[in-house]
Symmetry: C2
Subunit: 334 residues, 2 copies
């Protein structure tokens, strides 16, 4: 097993002088620059639950751990800063594995974080375990000057807007698991969406800065479930128009050539790390303008309604779709 | 398994309105009061490594998790605030277990944190695992107005001061493990030191406020190893006078009646969560004064020396003791 000291040296080499951190790794705790960070997220990845060493490299796992935390900060309309990493590692693990995790975090920071922010290592903890690898990251961030964007804030009449696409990461996982018998080489985007998801870091920060969304969340549990979180926090209902959802070409191929139920993937598949928001009609021109300027993939996919309407999902033909026990069924009428 | 929602409801019921946290559990992340927290610690406890369900109740485990983090903040001379908790739990686990952890955290907060600070729940993450339980806590804190106390800062001539006692938690673990064949009922303090360690929250904050220590650390890895961290960070040497260490009556009983090598426990035993600091001679009257006023258990146990002297440990008879590979041996002369 890599010693704590070797790993600390590796972190220091990879992440250098930590922006926003006055005292980082090597004391009892970290000292942050006063007043710098006011957002905190925490995400855990467990081997055998969130990742499999057969399907994902340590770099993939590190990448995804940072991406999932970045996505939470983006969903609050803020920008990322210092992270803290706990790794529980089996004694027999190849020392290259935790180093690979650090490299993956660094690669994700380079690829996903715009220059206006810097992701730095503030500290962490290293433990041994007799079981599967468990990684926990706490990421600090800065809310925009306009304040954080919360899940509460949606009001009836707001449009429901998706920035990005859903279902691709779940498709990638299904392919890796062998649930679908396909040639993986044809599905590079789906595999990448599972292994190295993006995070809408720049978009989240800009949306927060311009105060565009009334509520926002990142799509990590699945579109319908995450929309449900906004509805519950905002005490409203919604009509989700599934026919307006974007269909990635690889999803279309999965449906056309392999008969996969891609609607289920798009509505309930997790780990997309895209942004789901509600926007008052008067601010819709602003999001279209931003989408054009920044080449964002923006989709108007429904409307916030009064709470007594609950959540109604309209399927591809406009028919209501009802969800039960993690699955769903189509109905003829509501 | 307890659902995430039931546990969140339990956290909310136990920890109420979070002091210092504008938006807590229930959004993508937490929003902290601006400028409030500038210290961060992170500690992980792994079942089978840091605790055993046969020896510790879930309340014990929750207590110890908070205590270890509180101790890190105390060692920086600051005060604690919001915590973030990740729990990776086996699906078959009794739902009462994670609830017990929360109760233990609450009990430790009540018992160890003075009224001038409030420990609140800022958020967290709940995962399933196919392996042992893994708990990670990130605790935010506030440095004193005088600034944080770091590990670097010790200079030759400073006295080495221990607040509290070492070796008792390691004795408790040895008894629970059956390494020593004793009647556990005789060793209530040792068992408690392992299961429900204290944390010098009030003392740490006061020492930071009055700027007494030149460097400070909490004793979690063992006295000699933790002193080594101060020496390395401060680039100094030291003479540790083991004959000045306090001997708890239960340790004395272990030596007298069972022949246990208690010097080893006192010098290398972990998990004591006491405070080890260096203090310039001119400020020693201040610590004695504080010790009298607050009934602190303070011991002057050595001196900071020049870096070329390294770390010299003088045993019970004043003879040098040399440490090797986690053990140690006595020498006739240096």
């Amino acid at each position: 097993m890599t010693t704590e000291f070797e790993l600390i040296a590796r972190i220091a080499a990879l992440f250098g002088a930590p922006e926003g951190v006055a005292v980082g790794i090597g004391d009892d705790g970290a000292v942050l620059d006063p007043g710098r960070f006011d957002l905190v997220t925490m995400d855990t990845m467990v081997e055998g639950v969130h990742f499999d060493r057969d399907w994902s490299s340590p770099q993939d796992v590190g990448w995804k751990l940072l991406a999932s935390n970045l996505s939470d900060i983006a969903a609050m309309g803020g920008g990322p800063g210092a992270f803290f990493l706990s790794m529980a590692l089996p004694a027999a693990l190849d020392p290259g594995w935790p180093e690979g995790v650090l490299e993956g975090i660094k690669e994700a920071a380079r690829a996903l974080v715009p220059e206006s922010f810097e992701v730095s290592a503030g500290g962490g903890d290293l433990s041994s375990t007799h079981g599967p690898i468990v990684l926990t990251m706490t990421l600090m961030g800065e809310a925009s000057p306009a304040g954080p964007v919360l899940r509460r804030g949606a009001v009836p009449g707001d449009r429901i807007v998706l920035l990005g696409q859903t279902g691709l990461a779940a498709a990638g996982l299904a392919i890796l698991r062998g649930d679908v018998d396909v040639e993986p080489g044809q599905f590079a985007c789906a595999l990448r969406a599972h292994r190295r998801p993006g995070a809408q870091v720049r978009a989240g920060a800009l949306l927060g800065l311009y105060g565009v969304p009334s509520a926002m969340i990142d799509v990590s549990d699945g579109l319908v479930q995450d929309l449900g979180h906004i509805l519950k926090a905002s005490e409203v209902g919604a009509r989700l128009e599934a026919y307006s959802l974007p269909h990635h070409p690889e999803l279309v191929m999965l449906r056309e050539e392999y008969g996969v139920d891609i609607l289920r993937l798009m509505l309930t598949g997790g780990d997309d790390y895209e942004l789901l928001m509600t926007i008052p009609p008067a601010r819709m021109p602003k999001i279209w303008d931003m989408a054009r300027r920044h080449s964002w993939d923006v989709h108007d996919i429904g409307e916030v309604r009064s709470p007594d309407e609950g959540l109604v999902v309209l399927g591809p033909e406009g028919e209501p779709v009802v969800f039960e026990h993690g699955g769903y069924r189509h109905f003829e009428a509501k």
